[in-house]
């Protein structure tokens, strides 16, 4: 901790001395969320012994010519419900110094980085889901020529906060990560390609983790065996991106050697993952088809880690990220141990002035996605699928399991009627395998239809009102839902909103109730504050393969964010 403080003091003294020089800047941001908790047995909300909880972050970034330095303060007093309580504490878990020139970039300290699509390595932060796996170490980027990019990293991952003998500090995890990435643009590399209408990029990544062996035993036929756990585990991937307007195709394939872990049940099967994207787009029309297959591809710096802890890689979820309240009730989450699926989307603009397009044009967004479990077959009749200490199972790439994890068909129409009035309507049909995706075997698969209408009316240049109506219809889980929300905006500073979600036809009628919420906020330039009061339904927020369970809450919430 002392070292941290001296480091920070040094950075800021440096900035004080040279800030007056032209070109030096400090920028950053501040965000805090405070919540009070009332007990509300009907919705399952618990109170907090502390009465109120608070998460806060402040970033300071300094830049002078080729030098960047930064530090982030984080304080959890104590951690908001629904976020990992391992974060309870405060300190400076993020600090770095970076030097960069046109073809050379070196960073010491903490950094975030992604190779390709992130399927072998991604270090990132998302405060909304409480995720941060920053690397503490060294990164060197080198571009010998403009079309050739090399990137090498080494370090350990951040793992929340914990107490040690010196007070609070961010704990660096046991595993060491080493990685290398390269990317080349053929168009810039070969003169004959320079004027080609086809743009071609290739990339290659290699990532390796080291973690000391921990004893793991398995009992077979009354004999106990000690498993031989690999201390070094490597994963590599190759990718390409070819664009020839209006078409584009990109793909990445990754392979990982045997990596027995708590997540895969200590099986020795090597893992692999494939992502393929095809797009076609011209002005007014865009289409994407994405295919993805994951087979035993969880990759963590600690082999005992589960949930969203210590991921080295990021397996992007290809299903649509819904933002309206009800379509986001049942979000899909990447299944690291195995999934195969397709997602496609069409965006279409019906021209303004046409009969269907109307005076201002109309936008359509049509989406289809479906995810299945992968096909798994027993290695032999005496070894069950996924048996600890074995190769687990055999999987055929061209077959898939009949289990549908998730299916989403949705259509969104966005139309402006006049200078003052516009609307969005959405229809969604959803299949959600609750038991497998949330790990609750007693739950039935949810089949739901969802309809949404969102109207905005501009009363004057500065005043506008928005009305949102939503309905979710299902015979499973909690039954039907209806929602009405009204938001009044006074540009550019004020907003007020009132909303109510009502649960009805619940198979357990005693839980039918209203989830009301009131909020108002003030914003000026890049500062925004908001106060709300109400009930929040229990749910799950997922971003990619990382999810956060949000507990039901009843209380006040205050948020403040500011950038400077």
């Amino acid at each position: 901790m002392r070292k941290f403080l001296f480091f920070i003091a040094f950075c800021f003294c440096l900035s004080t001395n040279i800030f007056s020089q032209e070109g030096a800047t400090i920028r950053g941001n501040f965000q805090t969320t405070l919540q009070t908790y009332n007990k509300d047995t009907l919705i399952g909300a618990d109170n907090a012994p502390e009465k109120l909880l608070l998460n806060s972050y402040a970033n300071f970034l300094y830049n002078y010519k080729n030098i960047n330095a930064g530090v982030r303060y984080e304080g959890y007093f104590n951690t908001l419900q629904g976020y990992d309580s391992k974060n309870d504490g405060f300190g400076f878990p993020y600090r770095f110094i970076q030097y960069n020139t046109d073809n050379f970039d070196i960073t010491v300290g903490n950094f975030y980085e992604q190779f390709g699509n992130g399927i072998v390595f991604r270090s990132y932060e998302d405060k909304y889901i409480g995720y941060d796996n920053a690397i503490d170490g060294l990164r060197v980027k080198f571009n010998p020529i403009s079309c050739l990019h090399f990137n090498a990293i080494i370090g350990r991952q951040r793992y929340a906060f914990s107490k040690n003998e010196n007070g609070y500090s961010n704990v660096l995890n046991k595993g060491l990560i080493r990685g290398f990435d390269s990317e080349v643009s053929l168009n810039d590399l070969f003169k004959s390609f320079a004027d080609s209408k086809t743009s071609i990029l290739f990339g290659f990544s290699l990532v390796s983790k080291y973690q000391k062996e921990q004893a793991q035993y398995v009992t077979l036929n009354d004999t106990t065996y000690l498993l031989d756990i690999p201390e070094n585990v490597s994963a590599f991937s190759g990718r390409f991106n070819i664009v020839r307007q209006p078409f584009a195709i990109s793909a990445e394939y990754a392979y990982k050697i045997n990596d027995p872990s708590a997540e895969n049940g200590y099986i020795y099967k090597p893992g692999n993952a494939t992502i393929l994207n095809l797009t076609y787009s011209i002005k007014g029309f865009g289409m994407i088809v994405a295919l993805k297959r994951t087979d035993n591809f969880g990759f963590r710096s600690d082999r005992t880690a589960t949930l969203s802890d210590l991921n080295i890689n990021y397996l992007p979820d290809i299903t649509r990220n819904h933002i309206y309240a009800f379509p986001a009730f049942y979000p899909y989450a990447t299944q690291n141990n195995g999934e195969v699926g397709v997602a496609s989307e069409i965006n279409f603009n019906i021209k303004k002035g046409s009969f269907i397009g109307g005076k201002y044009g109309t936008n359509l967004r049509l989406n289809y996605s479906r995810m299945h479990n992968i096909y798994k077959q027993q290695i032999s009749s005496d070894i069950s699928i996924g048996q600890k200490g074995t190769n687990g199972y055999i999987s055929d790439v061209f077959k898939f399991n009949d289990d549908v994890f998730y299916q989403d068909i949705s259509l969104e129409i966005d139309r402006k009627i006049s200078k003052k009035f516009k609307f969005v309507v959405v229809y969604q049909n959803l299949i959600f395998d609750y038991a497998k995706l949330r790990g609750e075997p007693e739950m039935k698969t949810v089949y739901a239809n969802i309809a949404i209408a969102d109207f905005t009316y501009k009363i004057s240049n500065k005043h506008s009102i928005r009305i949102e109506l939503e309905g979710l219809f299902s015979e499973q889980d909690m039954g039907n839902w209806a929602m009405a929300a009204c938001e009044y905006n006074v540009s550019p500073n004020w907003f007020f909103s009132l909303s109510d979600q009502y649960n009805y036809k619940n198979p357990r009628p005693e839980y039918e109730t209203h989830y009301y919420n009131f909020a108002f906020g003030y914003k000026i330039n890049s500062t925004r504050l908001q106060l709300s009061y109400g009930r929040q339904r229990e749910g799950v927020v997922c971003i990619g393969g990382v999810c956060r369970s949000m507990p039901a809450t009843n209380g006040f919430m205050f948020t403040l964010t500011s950038s400077f």
């Binding site: 990029l201 990220n321 905006n489 540009s491 890049s526």
Partner: protein, 172 residues
Amino acid sequence: MRNLLLLSFVLIFSVSFGFSQNDTTKTYKKIPSVEIKDIEGNVFNTSQIINDGAPIIVDFWATWCKPCIKELMVLDENYIDWKEETGVRIFIVSVDDSRSTNNVAPFVNGKAWEFDVLLDANSDFKRAMGVVDVPHTFIIDGQGNIVHEHTAYAEGDEEKYYEILLELTENK
């Protein structure tokens, strides 16, 4: 505890010293140099966000962000007029991660938007600009100075952008 006090003192002193310098010399922040990607996936350095001495709008957004899309629809409606009157060039920086990065080009084309589109899949540029949430909009003058920033979007916020763009054009 002593260390913490020392740190607080240094922080306050250095920041206030920095700001007091700002008050007298009126220095503006500029766009930092960060490597992100262009719409075709090629490496793009943000120092290339330029517009021959005319103003620039840089708008951070995502395909999953409702208010962002509302704002961009409005900017798109006004873009032709604003460009004619002020010469403005609009760069929209998508913070979609690899879940939806590949969908940005078809999405933008589907909406028939005319903006310059950049991809910031791991939020490196977003972090370097101090952005917390999207949408977050920056207005930059012809000398590359960030003269205004705005977070969130409500109907009518674009009027403020237009006023600033006109001021920048008149003061040129």
